[in-house]
Symmetry: C3
């Protein structure tokens, strides 16, 4: 477990470099990430390289004992490269080339760009692959940021045709899989297939689904090309790429297989307005972030690969609609929470706030005048606390199944305003965490033996492996409505929903309805359901019904299935029952408090804007290693469990 | 009066066909509509036809005594046709060609497409025109769905120039009619006229108005070309086209003149979110639909031609923002209501839910697994009730004048956020129905003798014939504000508003104001006005004024004119007075209840989510032929009037 | 001080001209503005001019002793000109040419269009420059209306490159000024720079800032070309251009230097929905307009040049979302208010309402049938009151600094949903007016000696001259948060915010946060802050803190600086204290009442929808020259101060 920082030596006078490195080392940082937007400084003219500044920056860091994570600069192809080739720019969904002047303007399907991506990667890998300080590499930066996974360019169209041809072999198989007999959409060859944008009304959902999959695959193959080159010159280096929050445009389980560590960029305040929280929660958590956002992504990405945070929000950012200051202590809380969830390291973005360009209002560890900002002092605290933490990874009793393919299916066909596969999953995660549970978020096909409870919030499609794992686990399984409603092409399965889940619980979804906000129902004495409701044929008596008599929850043995999407309160009620059966904690935590086992301790994190007292049952007064029973706002406590 | 269903044999294994037909016949259906999206199955390669599957489908139906409505497949030109011609695709208002991959991607002004439309129509008409089962033809499908009446293509521009030249002869006449001296918009020839989209600020409203009229005319001539060919090969067939709800982009009175029956597609739940109802009514009628939506369209299209419903919503659909399940019984209610309003038939969309492609979440009479769904059972009930119904068409005492040209004028120049000519008309219709009246919705120029009350909600322009008919009828006439405010070019008439209505009521609109929601006024002890207010010069004393002393209603003899747009409650108050004068029923019905005479009976339909009791005065307890005095939610009662 | 009217003789039968002129003269008008959209009538074919109608129109006016303001018609290039040149049309931010069919479709960077602009200007100036009636000229019309200052055409791109080259000389200087090392945006030559639209995410704010400045400069040079020609042929004429409300796309201080009088177009009801007022204020002032809108713009434009209103709203307009009627008396109030603020003249738009084309629902002084409308009668009243008014310009004790460059900086980087530099300035203006003060709105670099109070609401960047003037004035200075946070390139200044203001008040802004609506704080017993908060390092004790202990206001000697954006109530509280210190009035006026010294009198204007009584302390009962102590809605009173 280490600490790091993102650093842009090219932004600053060269003579500032040695002092910067000294201060980093003194602070207790172990590494700096550099280079990932610096193509133009590295290659100011076609083929003319200038690496002196980068050599010196690496030397400065190395001299202070810092390691270096070096980024390939392919997120920002320079203007001269764009001007020499008219087939590099991505096209947006409106059918327009995306102009130069910011970043991420390239198309993953551009063969020309791939050639230059490999070239600059090889130049860098050759030069720095053997450098003792350069122990880590990052490919590109934030694949997909600014809606860039899916490009609608002619290059993308041609590559999509090739991808379809490779997948289906015969166009008749594609026509069959997509149901193209509908609306005369039958193709006679793969070369007749267009991209699904700009149609008169919505394109075939199977068409979109394959386009989403293709687009994700293009990202993977772009990444793999760089990885192969880096491995050649730096066989022992750790390779990573940095993922984002609430972002599902490519399959992160696929990426997890192609990196040594999956890093991600955690902006708890910036993401608050982008997530699903309503206005009252947004105001309550304005300067802390949603209490489950960071945890959800830590556990999600931990399910993809070893994980870490490479960009930790240090203060106000510049890109959310509003950009508040974190409460004092929140940066420390976020850093410790990352480590508690098993993060390999936590790294702040960025070292020193830039006084110019797009991100000039984005805080750093230092202010533009080099004075320390809040993140500097709070990271200093964490650095001192590192010695209290072990490398132990805790095991979880709860698994939550999550799948990008299913999210794509619900994105493409929401069918109602209130159903979002990602947010449903996060809601279920939050309910489990509200009861104090540690949660593993796992992909389809995971072996589920050893878990006490398995949650299946929003798997529209289940693979055969998943169905088998659910059948063979001893765990209690709790399933959301709409699960199993799709086959692998995004179509209705033979025998209707819930498809393979029928082997766990004997019911058939005869039809489903969606309703707007305010039109759900309530279970007497409990919370309500919203958005989605399945009408089931079954011999089972419902466990719960709403006040209009509509079944809300069925149960058969160890398997429960909601027939209507539970609001968080209702779900928490039921999980409390299931957890209690499984011998787990089943008490609701105070509002804003979250627990997590890790680093040999059990942690409590207070996201509430008020002080919170830890339940006595959790630990004895003398067990605290960090903090104590009373947590102020932004407070962290940790104790050793016996 | 018959029942039918929409059917897509091309979606299913051929061997399922005979059983499907058997089940339809057993259910009491009289016909199936088929073929209207099946161009690619009929002509999989240019010029190579495959009609075997369609021959067989027709034989299957014929064998069971079912008639066939055959649709031309021109709503879905196949990909190979698009690829061979670059002048088929429609262009959207943003100036982009609309891509292949869904439906309705063609431009009505494409001469190339018209040639292929005539070709495929002739091929089909030749083959099936003489088939004894094929008694009905539908042209294309839902002209204008997905904003496709108005195309902004070069083909449309050229055709528009020709249309203008034919209309005006001399460009000076166009300049005069449009007032092009304003802002230097004078043209020197018709070839200088562009389409009105993408201008720096709004284009001339007269320019838009003629473009709207031209676009409607293009639909008519496209339709007429197919009709002429079908008539040639099937002179005795009934020809129809299917209209939609809340849709005004082409003139349905024009279409009425070109069909034998005007069918329409009734989706009461799907249309709820698209209509003008506020959130509380939307929640109340979520699973029933707005109580006046279907009736309004039945009566509107009955004013265009003999009418029927060809697509009746059978359950949840896939295309509204949220898609709830109808209350049990609603499909039956909607079917019976169609017949009560004089519908020639009612037909469910569709036979079996497709498990693939865009509409896979759209219910059918059967589920994808061929099990009967709710619509199957409810249609079964109706089939058994058909024998109770006669073919008698009832006559109405109330006429409501409606005009597409006037709706276009208010769409083009709303002048305020709260005025929509279509919704104003529907509001007035609803007020009359709330009092139990049957209503004829009639076009301009209709002979109005014989009516007791004539409503003129939103005729911005009145033709000379309409003005004359209003003068000569004995009926009480109730007129909305803004009526008569436009001449035939959409300009202010000589002598100002209300133009020719001044001959009915002696007032002049000196100026008009529009106000946002919440800024209207109230008539003491009654409801209020909203959105639009005319300030009138007149010697008349106002009948009603608002609390600020502003005149709201004037009356001269049998003519009343609102000077401010009445909210529904206020209007209902006044109509109750007028109806009472005319010796008609003037009591408000319980909320959600609607009455209608037809089929030799008087019907009551309960759209309320609660049970409703029919007023005793309506009928005696022993008069009920269907149902009784108490109507459950979705209940229907009918009795014979003596 | 005179009255005038906007007049379009080309819209009307020639024989109506003499009577129109007679009625204008009889009404007491001194001039008519004509010609500014009449290019096509003047030059119906390329090179064929028809000036007979215009000659006659001018003669008609001249015969009645009216002067003429003649407009160049370049806002509306005719179709034949567009068709002959493909490089005239402006392009919108989406990258599309803006079509012919309305107005303002030309690009300021089109050399072709400039040539024709100069040509038509010269033709007109030659013909009418020496005419004794033509004493005033207007260039073009409403530069920038419909988002037309900023064009994204190839012509604009090329001109922008030239402008950058002229400004920076060396591309390295541009790279340095913009911070292009960020995200590899370094350019090798000016020809690599693109326009900042359509980038994948936001372009560099310095890039935008220079593009905004360039676009403003293009307007100025377009205007200057016309001015130079007019001056040549009409050396004594007054030259003007008409500005708009709430419009900041070009620098009006620059324009002020290029005109003799800066006129503007005042639409108090039309602007209500466009301004920052919330719904309850919008409803309260629906038929009067915001009480500070007109005054703010009068004083803003008076700070640019001698000012006047050339287009005064006469009744409902056609272009706002809703278009109510002004209360009776409001047109008179608006006209008198213009004169009281020092306006050289007030002129109504337009003489007679047009019955056709885009503005047919826009009221005039006459109705389309030539009957007088409300504005006719109310202007008649004002004409009779003119003799009571002197030409004296009153001096103000309060200066408010306003700067277009700073508004652009906050437009480009709002950083929060609640900060808008223009609206912040208007809010501060309103607080001072609420206390009865007259306010000068002055540009950067103004000599501030002689003022008692100087307000600096939203100067993100301060020039050296401004900083010096603030240091040397004796006035009390009240500064808003965020002031001084930018250098001249829109970057963070050395030493951080408040930059040069640190010499007035010893504090440093360590960081700033923005918060959404509802997340501000309150000062105990007073109002609150919202949107923006600076966290300061300083030895000063805060004067005010909010209930969470956060500093809200600092003061050092005569300089105060808010650390959080005060809501209007809180600001008014503090200004009352400052005004009292300065020996000025410090009482809040009744809601809706505004005062203003001018024309030798002190005026009171009642914008409230209810009657208002003037405080006794303001004047004695026998001092009234116009009105009296009690002002009805729309009432005006004026008295002589002793």
């Amino acid at each position: 477990m280490t600490l790091g920082v993102c650093y842009y030596p090219e932004h600053w006078a060269p003579e500032m470099g040695p002092e910067d490195a000294k201060r980093m080392a003194r602070l207790g940082l172990s590494f700096a990430r550099i280079g990932e937007f610096a193509w133009a400084p590295m290659e100011p003219e076609p083929g003319r390289y200038e690496f002196g500044w980068l050599d010196q920056a690496i030397e400065n860091l190395h001299a202070e004992g810092l390691e270096v994570m070096l980024g390939t600069p392919t997120a920002t192809p320079p203007k001269w490269l764009i001007d020499r080739h008219d087939d590099i720019l991505a096209w947006d969904e409106e059918g327009r080339a995306r102009g130069f002047g910011s970043r991420r303007h390239y198309c993953f399907s551009s063969e020309t760009y791939r050639e230059h991506s490999r070239r600059i990667t090889e130049v860098m890998a050759k030069r720095y692959g053997g450098h003792p300080a350069v122990t880590m590499w990052q490919t590109d930066n934030e694949f997909g940021c600014h809606e860039t996974v899916r490009s609608y360019s002619p290059m993308a169209r041609d590559a999509f045709r090739g991808w379809l041809s490779a997948k289906y072999g015969d166009v008749a198989a594609l026509n069959e899989a997509w149901g193209n007999v509908f609306w005369s959409m039958l193709y006679r060859s793969f070369d007749e297939v267009e991209l699904p944008n700009l149609t008169a009304t919505e394109a075939n959902p199977s068409h979109w689904l394959d386009f989403y999959r293709f687009s994700s695959d293009q990202v993977m193959s772009f990444h793999r090309e760089q990885v192969a080159i880096i491995r050649q010159y730096a066989p022992d280096a750790m390779i990573t790429h940095n993922a984002m929050g609430y972002f599902t445009h490519y399959d992160h389980h696929d990426l997890g297989a192609e990196v040594d560590v999956l890093t991600w960029d955690s902006y708890p305040l910036g993401f608050l307005a982008q997530g699903p929280e309503d206005q009252s929660r947004t105001l309550r958590y304005l300067r802390q972030g949603d209490p489950d956002m960071a945890g959800f992504h830590h556990d999600l990405y931990r399910g993809c690969a070893p994980f870490a945070v490479i960009e930790q929000q240090p203060g106000p950012v510049n890109w959310a609609p509003d950009n508040p200051s974190p409460l004092p202590g929140m940066v420390r809380l976020w850093e410790l929470e990352c480590l508690a969830h098993g993060g390999r390291f936590s790294s702040v973005f960025r070292w020193r706030q830039a006084p110019f360009a797009q991100e000039q209002n984005h805080a750093g560890m230092l202010r533009p005048d080099s004075e320390p900002a809040a993140a500097f002092h709070e990271t200093d605290e964490v650095a001192k606390e590192l010695s209290l933490l072990s490398d132990d990874l805790a095991s979880s009793k709860v698994a939550l199944l999550f799948d990008y393919d299913s999210v794509w299916m619900s994105d493409i066909q929401p069918q109602g305003t209130g159903y979002d596969g990602l947010y449903v999953a996060k809601d279920w995660y939050a309910a489990a965490r509200k009861l104090g549970a540690d949660v593993d978020i796992v992909p389809q096909g995971t072996d589920l033996s050893g878990y006490a409870v398995v949650l299946v919030p929003s798997l529209l499609h289940l693979t055969a492996e998943t169905a088998e794992a659910l059948k063979t686990t001893e765990a209690r399984v709790v399933i959301g409505p709409r699960c199993g409603s799709k086959d692998e092409n995004g179509n209705i399965p033979d025998g209707l929903a819930p498809g393979p889940l029928r082997e766990l619980i004997p019911l058939t979804v005869a039809r489903s309805e969606t309703v707007p906000e305010g039109a759900g129902g309530a279970v007497a004495g409990r919370g309500g359901w919203k958005a989605w409701r399945d009408e089931c044929e079954t011999a089972l008596d419902p466990l719960w019904t709403d006040e209009a008599g509509r079944p809300v929850l069925y149960r058969e043995g160890r398997t429960s299935m909601f027939a209507a999407l539970p609001e968080r309160e209702l779900l928490t009620d039921y999980l409390a029952e299931v957890f209690a059966e499984a011998g787990m904690d089943a008490e609701r935590l105070p509002a804003g408090l979250r627990l997590r086992r890790g680093c040999g301790l059990r942690f409590a994190f207070n996201y509430a804007p008020e002080a919170v007292r830890l339940p006595d049952a959790l630990c004895s007064d003398d067990a605290f290693v960090i903090g104590g029973r009373e947590l102020p706002p932004a407070g962290v406590s940790a104790w050793r469990e016996t």
